[in-house]
């Protein structure tokens, strides 16, 4: 709002200092993670379908401090301006709440994640099954605690399954951060802020196919291989959790 005076969060300076301290710690070869996990241990994953009744399908995911709701609408009529299409369309949107980050944000749409979510799911959905129509996937990040995009992707594929959209397989996604020689799986927001590089994989474990892979920062080839193995293994485990969540609903 334009009428509001300029404000600042009193915890800003404190956070900055803590981050500097932590950055020093991460340079060492051996350190413990703030939540007590080992380097190759994921946060406990909690997932449930049917978070919102108004949608065709929905899911809620909570991985440590990261909380996400995804609603799926459709298949429904495409926008009037759209050209005729034999295959269905997928429309994705990711937004954050204003209170999702430690300091209050704008709560606007996240264009980059929206596009990446679209790309990660596109390959898994059998678009031929709903010609001329659109499936909308809307994600809202309630709290951002790190590894947001992988959580959004996994949660979205669960919501698609809940909506009964035909897919080749569930898509599960996990990311790994690289700190010097250490590989840290499922990083928290603090860890992500200080990482040297990151690798994220979204895959369909039953078909052993990767729908999306992003790699940023400095990596050696050996490290990339190791990180991919680590991610794929975690994706497989996550997909099992998602599957059991769907079975629970069906039974």
């Amino acid at each position: 709002m334009a009428t509001n005076p300029a404000t600042y969060s009193p915890s800003q300076s404190l956070e900055r200092r803590q981050q500097q301290q932590r950055r020093k710690i991460f340079l060492q070869a051996d350190w413990t993670r703030t939540d007590g996990r080992s380097f190759h241990q994921c946060r406990p994953a909690f997932m449930r379908t049917g978070a919102s009744n108004a949608a065709s399908g929905s899911a809620y995911a909570e991985f440590g401090g990261t909380k996400v709701i995804v609603s799926v609408f459709g298949p429904r009529e495409s926008k009037k301006a759209m050209m005729y299409s034999d295959t269905g369309r997928l429309n994705c949107n990711v937004s954050y709440t204003t209170f999702s980050t430690p300091t209050r944000g704008q709560g606007s749409d996240h264009k980059e994640y929206s596009s990446m979510l679209h790309k990660a799911l596109e390959g898994a959905i059998i678009l031929e099954t709903f010609p001329k129509t659109t499936v909308d996937v809307f994600a809202l990040v309630l709290e951002s605690g790190g590894s947001d995009l992988p959580v959004i992707i996994s949660c979205a594929s669960l919501a698609l399954a809940d909506a009964g959209i035909m897919m080749y397989d569930l898509v599960s996604s996990v990311s790994v951060s690289c700190f010097g020689n250490n590989l840290v799986i499922d990083p928290t927001a603090e860890e992500e802020a200080c990482q040297d590089g990151s690798l994220m994989i979204a895959c369909m474990p039953a078909r052993y196919e990767v729908t999306q892979l992003t790699l940023t920062g400095e990596w050696s080839t050996a490290k990339i291989n190791e990180a991919m193995e680590l991610c794929l293994d975690a994706c497989l485990k996550l997909a099992n959790i998602m599957r059991s969540c769907l079975k629970e609903i069906a039974s």
Binding site: N4, P5, S11, A51, S71, T98, T101, D109, F138, L140
Partner: protein
């Protein structure tokens, strides 16, 4: 055949679900004749209501409220501002109500729902006029620094009575609000001392040692009713709201005093006796909501 009066030419057998979709109003009217609603509620009963306090860890105060399938998540973040010269010892309050596209099939990304800004305005009007929050309590250093409370309410699932649920979540979030301990550093900026080393805590002078919770005045609660012919339906869901279009929203505070009445147009004219009936219904609902809120507050203290 009773159904023929509403359906015109259609006679004989028709499936209930199809009848409901094709002739929603006659479908409802036949229920109303029996003094029951399709979801098995009596006309004057509100849906089950739950309040969960503190679901958002990164906020200073938060609440998740469910009225039936309508779900609201409210969170308050406190930031520091320089108070205006007109009111040097008062803080401020900024309320925003958001309807993200996840909440309803009718909301599309990039196009905020019209009703969201209406509810935003109604909420700030009610919060300000009920005087539940004493803005002077949000002051830190007179003329220099005061709290700006950003209250953001997200509708996670929209199934009718959005204003009622939003107001309840706002009140619950303020009841849960914990003001962080702060101090002033050398540059004159207010800094948080939470989680700081104990010796640093002693060195820095705390500005607001004794003001950790707001002393809330009488809290406003609301109930929306649908008026249809001679019937009054309390706490309608989205389906009922879409079929019958005359609403009355009554806001009362916990002492039973009237804060506001809102009747936005609609076909049926509300006469004095129906308005009075709505107020009576709201009175009993306020008691109910007050109990639910104090229950969840006492549960939190036990934890």
């Amino acid at each position: 055949m009773e159904s023929s009066e509403g359906t015109g030419g259609l006679s004989g057998e028709i499936e209930v679900e199809a009848y409901r979709r094709l002739f929603p109003l006659p479908f409802y009217e036949r229920h109303l004749l029996e003094s029951v609603r399709p979801d098995a509620r009596p006309l004057n009963r509100a849906r089950d209501t739950t309040i969960a306090l503190g679901p958002v860890a990164s906020a200073d105060g938060s609440a998740l409220v469910k009225i039936g399938d309508t779900t609201m998540l409210a969170a308050i973040k406190l930031e520091v501002m320089t108070p205006s010269t007109d009111a040097p010892d008062e803080g401020s309050l900024a309320i925003e109500f958001q309807m993200p596209p996840i909440c309803s099939p009718s909301v599309r990304p990039g196009r905020p729902a019209e009703v969201a800004s209406v509810i935003s305005k109604q909420l700030s009007d009610v919060m300000m006029s009920s005087e539940m929050i004493n803005l002077k309590e949000l002051s830190l250093i007179s003329g220099k620094a005061a709290w700006m409370a950003y209250l953001d309410i997200y509708c996670l699932s929209a199934d009718g009575c959005l204003f009622d649920a939003a107001l309840l979540s706002a009140i619950a979030a303020f009841s849960h609000l914990q003001i962080p301990l702060v101090s002033v550093n050398d540059d004159g900026r207010v800094i948080a001392v939470f989680g700081e080393l104990p010796e640093a805590k002693l060195k820095l002078e705390l500005v607001n040692k004794e003001k950790r919770k707001l002393s809330l005045g009488s809290k406003p609660f609301s109930l929306t009713c649908i008026l249809h012919e001679e019937y009054i339906l309390a706490d309608p869901n989205a389906e009922e709201e879409s079929i019958m279009d005359t609403f009355v929203t009554v806001v009362l505070d916990s002492l039973g005093q009237l804060v506001s009445i809102y009747k936005p147009g609609g076909a049926a004219l509300a006469n004095m006796s129906t308005i009075k009936a709505c107020i009576a219904l709201t009175k009993s609902r306020v008691k109910e909501l007050n109990n639910i809120l104090s229950e969840s507050l006492s549960e939190m203290e036990v934890d």
